[in-house]
Every structure is written in structure tokens, then in C-alpha cells.
């Protein structure tokens, strides 16, 4: 029942997106959609995925969306094509094909479906004995299908470098303060002449405004960082792992940058350092694989890393999760810093 209600919320959100013209609302709706999907996944027992989607789809994606709206200085779509006949036909045909394809599928939650009887049972039955990790998602992700995860880390690395290539140079025209650009765009009523002083905070007001946020934010940053480390270390026992930890770690820096400005955050995490750690994570991951080869195993075979295979697996999983965490955190921070402001080290 709760599945259906969550799915219905998602349908409503998605349909709303078709009609919305306000792009800020589009970004927020997309975040809501992701968060609802994450809730649905918790209900369906996929907690790791839910965790990731909540931090990425509802968190990072929304921040990136808002940042790019500020940079493109647009708030409204010019016009919405709600009905677009060719697109509608394509979509209906595709949807009909998919529904036709579902007709022979096993029902929702059927325990005898092939995917529950063919490959998966081994993971559920033997993974603890083979890898020593109770979280099956972590053991499959990091060990059995560890090469996919290396690919995934590479994709994030690619995105980080790609954004550096595209925007790292600084911009060709000065960007207005994103908040002003987003808030002061068309569609907002101009302030009445007499109310200027009241509505727009002066310098002292600005400071007070920031003081509350800064105190609140400062209080939050250490727990966020702590939580990131907890997620990183606890990924073998519960939901979490390098990817989620990296995103959370980066979000602490993003918060810091929002409160104290990008240059201050940049001072903590300079561009060159980030670029190094971005590369380092991938190298750690791929290097663990090479170490396996040098010690006489196959690539990404962690069993040979220690005297005892299970011990080796645990060691390998901790190391590669660390690699994933480092690359993801650096990539997210790089992407945010590049979006949020010019990269001074790139301009010179």
C-alpha cells in the first residue's frame, strides 16, 4: 500500500514537472522526486541505494541545478510545450512496448523469480564466509563486482575532470552574486521606493544575517564530517560506504562555502590539492587491483593481500572504499567549487 502511495506521489511530481515553467521549481521538484524514490527504496529493502539517492539525487543534483540556474541567469522557461504530438507518439509507443514486455514478467516480490534463484543465492549464502562482510551490497559491490565499481569511480573522476575542462577556466563575464541573480531575476516585484532601507539589509544587517547562519552552520559541520567518517567506516556493517561518505564529506565543505564564501572554502581545500586527491582515489582503487596481480592473484583479487583470504578481502574492501570515498569527495567538491565561483588558480 505504502508502495502505491509513494509511487503516486512520484507520478504527481513528474507530471507537475511537465507543466512547470519556473525552473527553480523544476529543480526542487526533481529533488522531491528523488527523495520520494529514496523513501520507496527503503521500503523495498534497498537501503544503500536509498542512502545514495537521497544524498545525490536530492542533495548534490539540486545544488548543481540551482548553481547552474544562477550562472545561466534564467529563472523561467520561455514557453512550455506541454503537448508535442511527435514526442507523445514516441513515448506512447515506447511505453506500450514496455508494458507488452512486462506481461511475461514474474510478479512484484515473487520469491521464485529467476533473479532470486540463479546468481543471487550464492551471495546471500556464502558472502559472509568468503569476504567477512555482513552487508551483502558492500561485498558484491566491492569484491564480486568490484570492477564495475572501479568503472563507477572512473566515471566520477571523468565528470570531475570534465567540469574542470568545461568551466574551470573562469568565466568570460563577471557573474553576479548567485543569490541576487536567482532572487532578483524577472518575475519578482521591484521594491517600493520608500521601503528600500527596510527591505534590503545594510551592511550591519547583512552581518547579523550571516551571524545566525554561520553559528548554526558551524555547529553542523563537525557532526557532518563525523557522520561522513562513520558512513565510510561502517559501510561493511550497515548501509553506507565510500560513495555516500564522499558525498557527505563534500557536503560539509559545500555548506562551509555557502556560509563563508567560496574563497574561504578554497583556502581549506585548494584546487591543486583537490585535483591531486581526485586522481589519488582512482589510483588507490586501481593500485589495489595491481597489488593483487603482483601478489599472485587475479586483478582485484583481495584474498592474496593478507595471509588469510577472508582477512585479505576485508583489507581490500576497506582500501578500495577509501579510494572511492576520496575520489567522490574530491569530485563533488571540485564540481561545486567550479560551479559556485571562478577558480582563481585556473585564471592566472
Amino acid at each position: 500500500m505504502i508502495n502505491i502511495s509513494l509511487l503516486m506521489i512520484m507520478v504527481a511530481t513528474a507530471l507537475g514537472l511537465v507543466w512547470l515553467r519556473n525552473l527553480l521549481a523544476v529543480v526542487m521538484f526533481s529533488g522531491i522526486f528523488s527523495l520520494t524514490a529514496a523513501s520507496l527504496w527503503v521500503v523495498l529493502g534497498a537501503v544503500d541505494v536509498a542512502f545514495t539517492e537521497a544524498s545525490v539525487g536530492a542533495g548534490i543534483a539540486t545544488v548543481l541545478g540551482l548553481a547552474s540556474l544562477a550562472l545561466t541567469r534564467t529563472e523561467h522557461e520561455k514557453r512550455t510545450r506541454v503537448f508535442h504530438l511527435p514526442a507523445l507518439i514516441v513515448v506512447l509507443v515506447t511505453g506500450a512496448a514496455l508494458i507488452y514486455g512486462t506481461l511475461d514478467m514474474p510478479g512484484w516480490g515473487d520469491p521464485d523469480a529467476p533473479i532470486h534463484t540463479h546468481v543471487a543465492p550464492r551471495y546471500i549464502e556464502d558472502s559472509l564466509a568468503e569476504t567477512g562482510v555482513p552487508n551483502i551490497v558492500t561485498s558484491v559491490l566491492a569484491s564480486y563486482r568490484g570492477f564495475d565499481t572501479l568503472g563507477e569511480t572512473t566515471v566520477i573522476f571523468t565528470a570531475g575532470v570534465g567540469v574542470l575542462v568545461l568551466l574551470g577556466r573562469g568565466r568570460r563575464y563577471p557573474v553576479a552574486n548567485p543569490r541576487v541573480a536567482a532572487g532578483g531575476g524577472p518575475g519578482r516585484a521591484p521594491a517600493a521606493p520608500g521601503s528600500e532601507g527596510a527591505a534590503v539589509p545594510g551592511d550591519s544587517g547583512e552581518m547579523r544575517f550571516k551571524a545566525i547562519l554561520r553559528v548554526g552552520g558551524k555547529l553542523l559541520i563537525p557532526p557532518i564530517l563525523l557522520f561522513a567518517f562513520y558512513t565510510q567506516a561502517h559501510g561493511e556493517l550497515g548501509p553506507g560506504g565510500g560513495f555516500q561518505a564522499g558525498v557527505i564529506f563534500a557536503s560539509a565543505f559545500i555548506l562551509y562555502a555557502l556560509l563563508f564564501g567560496v574563497p574561504m572554502a578554497r583556502a581549506v581545500a585548494p584546487a591543486s590539492v583537490l585535483r591531486g586527491t581526485l586522481a589519488l582515489g582512482v589510483l588507490i582503487y586501481a593500485g589495489v587491483g595491481i597489488a593483487g596481480v603482483l601478489l599472485g592473484g587475479n586483478y582485484l583479487d583481495y584474498s592474496v593481500l593478507a595471509h588469510d583470504p577472508v582477512h585479505g578481502q576485508e583489507l581490500g574492501i576497506i582500501l578500495i572504499e577509501l579510494g572511492v570515498g576520496i575520489t567522490v569527495a574530491s569530485a563533488m567538491m571540485t564540481v561545486f567549487f567550479v560551479f559556485a565561483g571562478q577558480d582563481p588558480q585556473q585564471v592566472d
Binding site: G183, G184, A189, G217
Partner: protein, 115 residues
């Protein structure tokens, strides 16, 4: 006896929380401008969420779960007011004026869309 009492108390909190969320939701839709809507949203953020979590704490099977839930309350109590504050200042900064007039003629500053 204690178990029944705890259960009853927990349900009381949950129902009260849901009601608060409902009222907040109605307020979000019906109130005239950003600031008053924010007030309704604050109700959901703090009271509704808080009550629901307290209800869940009373239901929790082990103390680790309870501690985690209490941590969430603490977290919400820190973040929600800060976020509401930031939102209000951003609205002022964006020159959105509070709605002061009567319902028939909304002031210029009242936003036209619900989004």
C-alpha cells in the same frame, strides 16, 4: 501495563504529529505570502517532525535506535530554524514584501505562484 501506556503515549504523539503536519500543509496552500507560509512550513519542520519522532522513539525496539532517533531530533532542531531564517532573509533580500493588505487586494510583493 507499562507497555500499554508507552504504546498509547506513542500513538498519541504520532497522531498529534500527523495532525500538525496536516495543518501545516493546509497552511502552506492557503496562507497568502511567503512569510506566513514559512510559518506553516515551520510547524511541519519542528512540531510535526518532532512529535512523530518522539512517537517513534517510544516504539523503538532497542536503545541504539532510540539514540539515533533522538540525534535526528537534535539535528532537526538545529537545522530547521536556521533554514527558515535563511529563507526569510533571502526572500527579503529578493525584495519580496510581506503581505499586509486585505485578501481582496494583495500587495505588490505577494508572490503570484504557489511554487
Amino acid at each position: 501495563m507499562v507497555a500499554v501506556l508507552l504504546d498509547g503515549l506513542s500513538w498519541l504523539c504520532l497522531v498529534a504529529g500527523v495532525l500538525a503536519a496536516l495543518i501545516g500543509g493546509i497552511g502552506l496552500l492557503r496562507l497568502p505570502d511567503v512569510f506566513s507560509r514559512m510559518h506553516a512550513a515551520g510547524l511541519i519542520d519542528t512540531l510535526a517532525a518532532g512529535l512523530i519522532i518522539v512517537g517513534l522513539v517510544l516504539q523503538s525496539p532497542s536503545w541504539t535506535v532510540a539514540v539515533k532517533l533522538i540525534l535526528i531530533i537534535v539535528f532537526i532542531l538545529f537545522t530547521s530554524p536556521t533554514a527558515t531564517h535563511a529563507l526569510a532573509r533571502a526572500a527579503l533580500h529578493g525584495r519580496v514584501l510581506p503581505w499586509l493588505g486585505d485578501r481582496s487586494s494583495p500587495s505588490e510583493g505577494a508572490p503570484s505562484s504557489k511554487a
